[in-house]
Symmetry: C2
Subunit: 226 residues, 2 copies
DNA sequence: TTTTTCACCGACCGATCGGTCAAGCCCGCT
DNA sequence: AGCGGGCTTGACCGATCGGTCGGTGAAAAA
């Protein structure tokens, strides 16, 4: 049930949490993810935990802190989580590992992931907002580095790096809107399928140029060139 | 400013709206998109429009109806909008047109799009919720039909159709989280870039198999086969 | 045994929520 | 001038919001 703070205990700053705190964080994450921050009241959280509302304020100073612990606290180590799962090897395989690791993170911390990525980005707390953006940028820049590696190694085309990163992250970030944990495929398997599609492309290599070359807009078949 | 109900007037059910109603819908869409449904109060909408809160209830029966008009009313014709912009031609080009048309819709009805796609999906109104899902499914099934066409024509590989559709829609649906209208690229241009990336793939065709074939997991290079 | 600590609770607070209502304002019509 | 009817308003409602407060009971510390 509780899925928070499972980083190796060495990197984690908060060593042990009381069961109650973990329960509150887990229930709050689920509620924030399904009903949103403003749609979730402190009463909702208390009722979900089977405790009084006052007890929430005994363990947390206010609602924002609960959300911060859910969103920031559990997203704390996304970058480290993924980085540790990207092994040495061909850059394109590192991108694949990046995608699969991100999907694993999504599967493990699903509610907290949804709660933090669907939150509205005007956090009144400036410092926290800035820290969140810093973390996100570090994560995104890590992917961009991998893409640049793959380009330098000649494994992928000379594409716009930020745009390529956005495409890859889009496929992962939108997953929570349609993923059903009761279905067969795991997020990791889905990420692997997406990697294959994005890396190798949808087009059939046996099929050359479409019969009638309509709409001669931008790049269609010239795959290597800039 | 007002960006709602611009369908040709023939297809639209509501012919002319008072300026006030259009203003309310536009401001409400912007607020719902930036602060969420629960984060937006009727006072917020009234203040944004420079009118009294009571006036909102003169034009709309309640908050839900305003949201419904923003989300459902303006998303009403996404399927028709896109369908009318997908011309005859090679199936892969129809997919490209689908993506660009969807991006155009996003650009035109940006706030309403964001408000409706970021809403939490437990609509208390059963009928409306069902209608929304029906619309979304019709839109998604349209894309799946195009993908199946492209497979049958041999233009794209024999991939899992629903999964391929999800990848394409992810690239478009996540755009609102990072798109900046002040930047140079239009959504349509971005969609075009994404189509190129997804259709032709990231991989460099000049580059064969990576030097060391690590991780012999699923499909890596066999592009035509099932 | 006495004292301190701490998880925990019921009652309550001011503010704000969505929503109502009776009454004014404004403007064209007769 | 008189009048009817939409547009518009401020005052107000009960409910719920996030948050506070004084206290209870049991275990740990003394």
């Amino acid at each position: 049930m509780v899925e928070l703070s499972t980083t190796k205990d060495g990197t984690a700053n908060q060593a042990e949490q009381s069961d109650r705190v973990l329960q509150i964080l887990a229930e709050a994450a689920r509620l924030f993810a399904t009903k949103g921050y403003d749609g979730t009241s402190m009463r909702d959280i208390a009722v979900a935990c089977g405790i009084s509302k006052s007890l929430l304020y005994h363990h947390f100073s206010n609602k924002d802190e609960i959300y911060a612990r859910v969103a920031v606290g559990s997203t704390l180590e996304l970058y480290l989580f993924v980085r540790d799962r990207v092994p040495d090897g061909p850059p394109s395989q590192k991108i694949r590992a990046f995608m699969i690791a991100t999907a694993e993170y999504f599967r493990r911390y699903r509610w907290a992931w949804i709660a933090s990525t669907t939150a509205f980005w005007n956090d009144p707390d400036r410092h926290r907002q800035k820290e969140r953006l810093t973390r996100r940028d570090r994560f995104e820049n890590f992917l961009r580095g991998l893409i640049q590696e793959a380009i330098d190694a000649g494994e992928i085309r000379k594409l716009d790096v930020p745009m390529t990163g956005r495409l890859i992250l889009s496929s992962l970030n939108w997953m929570h809107r349609w993923y059903n944990p009761n279905k067969t495929a795991t997020p990791e398997q889905i990420a692997d399928i997406f990697f294959d599609m994005v890396f190798n492309g949808l087009c059939n290599p046996d099929f050359g140029v479409p019969p009638t070359g309509e709409q001669p807009k931008p790049a269609r078949r010239k795959r290597a060139g800039k």
